[in-house]
């Protein structure tokens, strides 16, 4: 078997050294009836070629986003990732390394984490960022818990225009803690009044920018009003490319910023693995969840990096830890960092402009279609439209013509019939003008 180096002779020699006769003598502590007498009911081993064929068959049974005009966003975005990113993350030194607990032989991972933290702090406009969470949604849940710790309060006010999955995760993660989630109805493109919901018992308000429906807001006034009341503002970003064009959450006065970093360096992967971004103010650093990498020196005075402030974490603090997180998004942070380094300030801003320009173009192309109304006044690379027909049915019809037209909001809000005709459409630099023209033609046809 290609992955198992021990030979029959090796095994015999080793058993002899251990002074047992049979491999099952090493399993003597297993209750007798529980040790299987035969093999489990699964196929036996396969050759490399056979396995590959199996997966090619799975792959062929799904429609790859890159193979059709594709307009789904809503928290995961199809961007182009440079080839060198994927090469680097497959280097064995990165791919097959563990968490950098032995810093002398982990400086590669540690320095890239430090670069990652620096980049995330910069793009969010915050003081510090951690070395990643599982994804944006779990980072959002952790932000709610952290806000409760910082303020010693328990009400969490959540915008109705936060990604519904994120709302669900916040509710789930706080379900068995003291946290109380106050949710709001989605308003599409209408402003929300959140500050009036803040009472003494409130820990934070969570908003998204651009929001789930694509609208862009300046939350500076909300931040000021919350700070006057000693409450925290959590700003969520699910499309990190947007921060190359819009005012950063830090500049608006956010106390905690969380985001989904998948857009940079990482593929769609049907929902994971992604990379959760988590940034905050210096004064709250000891309340942060997750790993942190810090700069220090070695015994010779040379600069180096270590995991630090570990007393916040489960492996030391156990039940009093700031989170139970252990494994993070390691390799996905590396992909993020390399892609961001390849972009640089210039490329990042250019990419943002390119995304926005393409989206404006599609919006303009859609303007003349009867039965379609664009709801957004502002947007980055995603906007919401109201159709004259049921959006899910329109999307299914277009699938038959090899177009994936966007996200019918009813998929996430099945119990809100008022949203049945709402469709969210996303554009990235990978969307060609031909793709747009096909979508326009198909929508015209189906909405006729």
């Amino acid at each position: 078997m290609r992955y198992l180096p021990l030979s029959t002779d090796d095994r015999a020699e080793m058993l002899a050294k251990i002074c047992v006769e049979n491999i099952n003598d090493l399993f003597v502590d297993v209750p007798n009836h529980a040790l299987l007498k035969g093999l489990v009911d699964l196929p036996n081993h396969m050759t490399e070629m056979e396995v590959e064929q199996n997966f090619e068959a799975y792959s062929a049974k799904s429609v790859a986003a890159g193979s059709v005009p594709f307009f789904v966003g809503a928290g995961a975005y199809r961007h182009h990732v440079p080839a060198s990113v994927d090469y680097q993350i497959q280097r064995g030194e990165y791919l097959t390394a563990y968490t950098p607990y032995q810093p002398e032989i982990s400086q590669g991972t540690l320095q890239t984490l430090y670069e990652f933290q620096s980049q995330v702090a910069q793009i969010t406009g915050m003081d510090v960022a951690n070395a990643s969470m599982y994804d944006g949604s779990t980072a959002c849940g952790e932000a709610a818990l952290m806000a409760c710790r910082v303020t010693r309060k328990k009400r969490i006010i959540v915008s109705g225009n936060l990604h519904p999955h994120y709302i669900d995760v916040v509710k789930n993660l706080t379900k068995f803690t003291d946290g109380v989630v106050v949710d709001n109805d989605p308003t599409l493109n209408k402003p929300e009044n959140l500050i009036d919901q803040v009472d003494d018992d409130t820990a934070c308000v969570i908003v998204q920018n651009p929001d789930f429906f694509g609208n862009i807001n300046d939350f500076s006034d909300l931040a000021d009003a919350l700070h006057e009341r000693k409450k925290l503002l959590v700003i969520v970003n699910t499309e990190v490319v947007a921060l190359g064009a819009i005012k950063s959450p830090g500049e608006m006065g956010a106390d905690i910023v969380v985001g989904e970093g998948q857009s940079i360096g990482n593929g769609l992967n049907y929902g994971g693995p992604y990379v959760g971004l988590f940034a905050t103010r210096q004064k709250y650093v000891r309340q942060m969840p997750g790993r942190l990498c810090g700069e220090t020196t070695d015994a010779d005075g040379k600069r180096g990096f270590v995991l630090t402030l570990s007393t916040r974490e489960q492996h030391i603090r156990r039940e009093k830890a700031t989170s139970n997180i252990c494994t993070n998004a390691g390799l996905c942070t590396l992909a993020f960092t390399i892609h961001m380094t390849l972009l640089g300030e210039k490329g990042y801003r250019h990419l943002a402009q390119l995304n926005h320009a393409g989206t404006v173009k599609l919006k303009n192309k859609l303007a003349g279609i009867d039965g379609l109304e664009v709801l957004n006044e502002t947007f980055f690379n995603e906007f919401t439209v109201r159709l004259s027909n049921n959006a899910a049915e329109v999307v299914e019809t277009l699938v038959e013509n090899d177009v994936i037209a966007g996200l019918p909001v009813s998929r996430l809000y099945p119990d809100r019939p008022e949203l049945n005709n709402i469709l969210i459409i996303a554009v990235t630099e990978t969307t060609s003008e031909d793709d747009m023209d096909i979508l326009v033609a198909e929508l015209k046809e189906v909405l006729k």
Binding site: S310, T311, I316, R317, K320
Partner: protein
């Protein structure tokens, strides 16, 4: 002014109804290089035995329990930037907080300097 010691290796220095609390030299030595002290907030009300502070080294965090019942009247803000004060001066500049003592009788269960010395000798 009298100094008392607890079995949790805290000292409390009592002067006109207010106790200044820190950890002993024995404790700082056992904890190693101290990197952070989380002190309570002024105004916090505590019962004897409540968790009141946390002292951290790189790989460990230890809870500090209030030796008496009372209200926090001051905290040592110098520790925020310089936790190593606890190592260099556990019984002096490395104090943690001041607490107004509600019930003097709680001090009776604590040790004096000699008693603490005997206590730690027994731990070796």
């Amino acid at each position: 002014m009298t100094t008392y010691y607890s079995e949790d290796h805290e000292w409390i220095n009592v002067e006109s109804g207010v106790g200044t609390v820190g950890i002993t030299d024995y404790a700082q030595n056992a904890l190693g290089d101290i990197v952070f002290v989380e002190v309570p907030e002024v105004g916090d009300e505590l019962a004897k035995g409540d968790e009141v502070a946390v002292v951290e080294s790189v790989k460990a965090a230890s809870e500090i329990y209030s030796p008496v019942t009372g209200e926090i009247t001051a905290v040592n803000e110098d520790l925020e930037d310089n936790a190593s004060l606890v190592n260099s001066s556990a019984g002096g500049d490395g104090w943690f907080f001041k607490i107004s003592i509600s019930d003097d009788s709680e001090l009776e269960g604590l040790m004096d300097a000699d008693g603490y010395k005997t206590f730690t000798a027994g731990l070796e």
